[in-house]
């Protein structure tokens, strides 16, 4: 069996349940992301996979072999640490060579593999320098090289981009995604940044209070959030409360038609600001008459607040609009996500 399986993982610190009954399968060669707010247990889970933290119960299986009781040095898993944890007294070459040298890989092979990895990450010129002489972005690549040179079965990344500035981060995210696709290795990323998760991942697991509450592809998680927490943690959402009867959803804003009837009588629906369209004429279905109360110009788009509600709306096409204007909002049934919890 390929990939990594987590089965019934539990971990408590004192009275706090850091990780609670997590079972998850991570496919071989996929980019898997654990996404959640700080303190949700995602880093603890990652450290347990690395062998740097001991679970109270549960099993971890790597490529069909149970590794639950193996120490970190026996697991073919490597980590990129949040602070990078580079060895300050070793130069870049020796930093990257560390994992090979500690396993007594012969010298010429160390040379070959380290050079190849450094070239791949465009660090070929830096071999003789020390970590304190490099920029944050370069150090991050060194940390990546130091882990990848060991050809781990799983690469773990613990918030590797939190120390970079916003612009560099966006660039590195794309590069990381390309690298993973080129290598075809299993990557597990921990992050609290939803944009990062959407950009890089094949699949995302959203964590809260030590539990995985939803997992799926970025499209699934973003477009069909299971509950209020997921809807609000990934992007923004207008949450509308109401009751479902007679084939329609009745709310304070009006009556909505849904694509599929929900499993409940009383509950929430979510619609993202960019999914609402503005229209001058009354739409066929789910049209709401609203007044613009506030607007923020963001360059690529325009954010509006409208009453009643307030409803948040994001548009990139409709620009000649003013505060006080009355418009029709088109909330088509296929754009509405029904929250099931």
């Amino acid at each position: 069996m390929k990939g990594l399986q987590l089965r019934g993982i539990n971990k408590t610190y004192g009275n706090v349940k850091a990780v609670e009954d997590v079972s998850q399968e991570i496919h071989s060669g996929e980019f898997f992301t654990l996404l959640g707010p700080s303190g949700c247990g995602k880093t603890t889970l990652l450290r347990m996979i690395a062998g740097l933290e001991l679970q109270d119960s549960g099993t971890i299986i790597l490529e069909g072999e149970e590794i639950t009781a193996l120490p970190a040095i026996r697991r073919q898993i490597n980590t990129v640490f949040q602070s990078y944890a580079l060895f300050p007294h070793l130069n870049i070459f020796e930093n990257v060579a560390f994992g090979l040298r500690s396993r007594k890989v012969p010298g010429p092979e160390v040379d070959k593999r380290v050079k190849k990895t450094l070239e791949m990450l465009e660090l070929g010129q830096m071999t003789k320098r020390f970590p304190h002489q490099l920029s944050g972005g370069q150090n991050q690549r060194v940390a990546l090289a130091r882990a990848l040179v060991n050809e781990p079965k799983v690469l773990l990344l613990d918030e590797p981009m939190s120390a970079l500035d916003a612009k560099l981060r966006a660039q590195v995210q794309v590069e990381l995604r390309r690298l993973q696709q080129k290598l075809g290795q299993t990557f597990i990323l921990v992050t609290h940044d939803q944009d990062e998760a959407l950009v890089v991942s094949d699949r995302i697991a959203v964590m809260k209070d030590g539990k995985i509450i939803q997992f799926g592809t970025p499209v699934e998680v973003y477009e069909s959030p299971k509950n209020k927490f997921v809807a609000e943690f990934l992007g923004t959402a207008n949450l509308i409360e109401g009751t479902y009867h007679d084939g329609q959803f009745h709310t304070e804003l009006g009556i909505f038609e849904l694509e599929k009837p929900p499993s409940w009588k009383k509950g929430l629906i979510a619609i993202r600001p960019e999914w609402i369209r503005i229209s001058d004429t009354k739409p066929d279905k789910n049209g709401i008459r609203a007044t613009v109360t506030e607007m923020i110009y963001r360059g690529t788009n325009l954010d509006l607040w409208l009453s009643p509600g307030p409803i948040r709306l994001r548009t990139s096409t409709y620009k000649n609009i003013q505060i006080g204007d009355q418009v029709w909002l088109d909330m088509a049934p296929k754009e509405i996500a029904v929250l099931n919890e």
Binding site: F87, H89, S102, N150
Partner: protein
Amino acid sequence: MRKINLLVSITAICTMVFLYIPLLSVAFFSVNDTKYGMVWKGFTLDWYLKLFQNEMILHAAWNTLVLAIVSTIVSTLLGTILAIGMDRFPWPRKMNTTLDLILHLPVIIPDIIFAAAMVVAFGFLRALSSMFEPGLLNMIIAHITFQTAFVALVVRSRLVSIGKEVEEAARDLYADTTYLLLKVTLPLLMPGIVAGAMLAFTLSLDDFVISFFTAGPDSVTLPLYIYAAVRRVVTPQIHALSTLVLMVTIIMVICMERFTRKVNIK
């Protein structure tokens, strides 16, 4: 503001002068060509040359060096191992505070109390073995005791600043305990160990009170010799000796400064 700046500068310079005038006058009179009095009689290096013919001074210098070197080596070893033992193991809170308190004792209690305790303790030990007659052995033991605490404190703060993550990274990269210790922990700890050893060495050279209480007739060190001499009469030869000690101090301070700054930049 300008008035205040001027006042600050004047006070600061006066303070410097206040700190240095006594030391500079010692150096000044050490090259004065007269045995008595405070009048300038011409330049001479005679007093320095005579130092090297004085058996007692040479013996005291030898004692000082033996004491400092032996106690520094032992205390650096003890202190480093102790620091690792305190910082790198999951001791219960209560035990940690107790160990911490013991380590801070030589720092916080006046050295004269420690010296008095040593006198009494060696008094009892003497009943067991004549090894503990006042002398070099007692002095070495006493010096090791307070040096160990200082070394452990310095090394421990270095251990804390190294942190946990680098060692975890080494484990993650397949390092076993020996490899980790030799290739990661010790190299990273070395600046702390060297700084601790330098501190211990200077503390030993600088110490007077504890040596004074534990020394025997045959184990006079330079500070003890100077003290005994100036209580009788102040001679140019003592000035010369003090100036030499001062120069050694200056060299050591500069080395220490250079070293800590280099480490901090890295």
